[in-house]
Amino acid sequence: MREPRYGVLLVTCSHTHQENYAAAFAADRRCRIVALTDEVDVAPRRRELNERLADSLGVPYEPDLARALSRKDVDVVSICAPPDRRGRIALRCAAAGKHLYLDKSLVPTLQQADALVAAVRKAGVRSHMFTLNTQAWARAAKRLVEEKRLGTLRAVHADVLFAKGRQGSARLGSPRREEYPPERHQLVEAKRELDNVGVYPVALVRWLTGKKFRTVYGVTANYFFEEHQRHNVEDFGLLACTLEDGTPITITAGRTGWTSHPAGGVTRLVLVGSERTAVVDANRPRLEVYTDEPPWAPPNVNPEDPMGFWVSTQDAVHLRPKQTWVPVTQAGPSDASYFLDCLDAGRESEMSVAEAALTTEVLLAGYRSATTGEVVTLPLAR
């Protein structure tokens, strides 16, 4: 068997998406996870969580990011630090000459996004941000557009809504008052869901159309969860946009609650073309299976993760998979494998840092619009 050719370093571990990314890298024979690390001064709880994943993977934990980056056997760094630390860590990794595999969304500010794009370009490394674009259903949508099977694309309506969390606790009765710039992106009990989930449909639209966004009108809301409301972060957002050629785009994104959907949530694109309209749905085609098994019920609330963000915390409360809808198509290669394909081929990812920065700008425009009530024109002023 051939030796793995890429050494992977994981930055920030349990209770992040690193749980998923580590599994994806570990499953690909082209690479080997060589160590886990983080900034040297992380809180004791974060260090404990980092060491927990290191133990489960059977690889060493290096508590000093600088020392970990000095290792010659590290080629790729998978970064899942929370948004407020992600940018500065990514800059250090790029400067060390490592290829970057980044959690979404990219970074919380335009300044950090621009700095990261410049740093990656200067270092000459490859970069990639996780999105849904590499999933089989999204690839099918891309083929429809590229092969002109819909004619000219006239409009896109995209929805990504996570059916997680125990909904029904938000206090209703008045519109949300948004703030710009947005802060508090990732907390234990809540995330900014326009950013956290909205990055997917924004990235899909940009990738499918190849066009930049021109105008953005955004609204954020608190519809489902007291936890989000308590921390003054939205659980739902919508965007009404135009692309640079005037194509209208609508997007909804958010977290709608465990029992709001028979599977993981609404994940669909309506692609309206001059010749044909296609509905591309992550949950189609599917089997529907009904049995005398006990009906699915939400898991107990894990106080370490009441919204169901992470795999390990949901395993701890015995989350049962929803099994009424069974996908017909195979999942296909992982997003991590796609990035390794890019490294093998010496080409840029279709979701490089430069591309990901464009989604950051659209999301920030959405927050600014939600704050001012006005339509925001891109690019944003630097």
């Binding site: 409009a155 309506h157 029904g168 009765g173 519809y223 709608t256 029992t259």
Partner: protein
């Protein structure tokens, strides 16, 4: 073959049962053959239907797209914070039909037209569009900005 009015009645009945809790967001996409001059009127009509489902007065509407291009989407913001996206898509082969999602704070309902076309006749919807909604949509399309609706608008 069911009609749009049938669909609207079914949604109204489901919401009346309170199973979804309080409606907070509606996504309505109508595929149809409307000529450009009929698009705004149709959207205003649908916006009125959505307003009745939500049970709040709309305060703002923002329209993107163009009736001439056959693609227009409305973003509606309601007094107590609910929102809606109501879109019209003129397409060749999909045929008339409607995709509807309604989210309440306790659940959701979905109508995915799939391949089943709904009969979409002009006389299918008996309600005349609210003139204030229709006028606001036209203003937004002209201005490219969100437009306020008069407070105290129905319901």
């Amino acid at each position: 073959m069911p009609t749009l009015a049938d669909l609207h009645s079914a949604v109204r009945a489901a919401l009346a049962g309170k199973r979804l809790g309080k409606p907070v967001f509606v996504r309505y996409l109508l595929h149809g053959p409307e000529k450009p001059e009929a698009v705004v009127r149709r959207l205003a009509q649908l916006a009125g239907v959505v307003r009745d489902w939500i049970g709040q007065a709309p305060e703002r509407v923002y329209a993107v797209g163009s009736p001439a291009g056959g693609q227009v989407s409305l973003t509606l913001q309601f007094r107590e914070g609910a929102t809606a996206q109501v879109s019209f898509a003129r397409g060749r082969s999909h045929g008339p039909g409607a995709d509807v999602m309604v989210f309440g704070n306790h659940g959701a309902l979905y109508h995915d037209a799939g391949d089943a076309n709904l009969l979409e006749e002009a006389e299918d919807l008996p309600d005349r569009p609210d003139p204030q909604l229709e006028a606001a949509v036209k203003r937004s399309l002209r201005s490219g900005k969100p437009e306020p609706l008069p407070t105290g608008a129905p319901p």
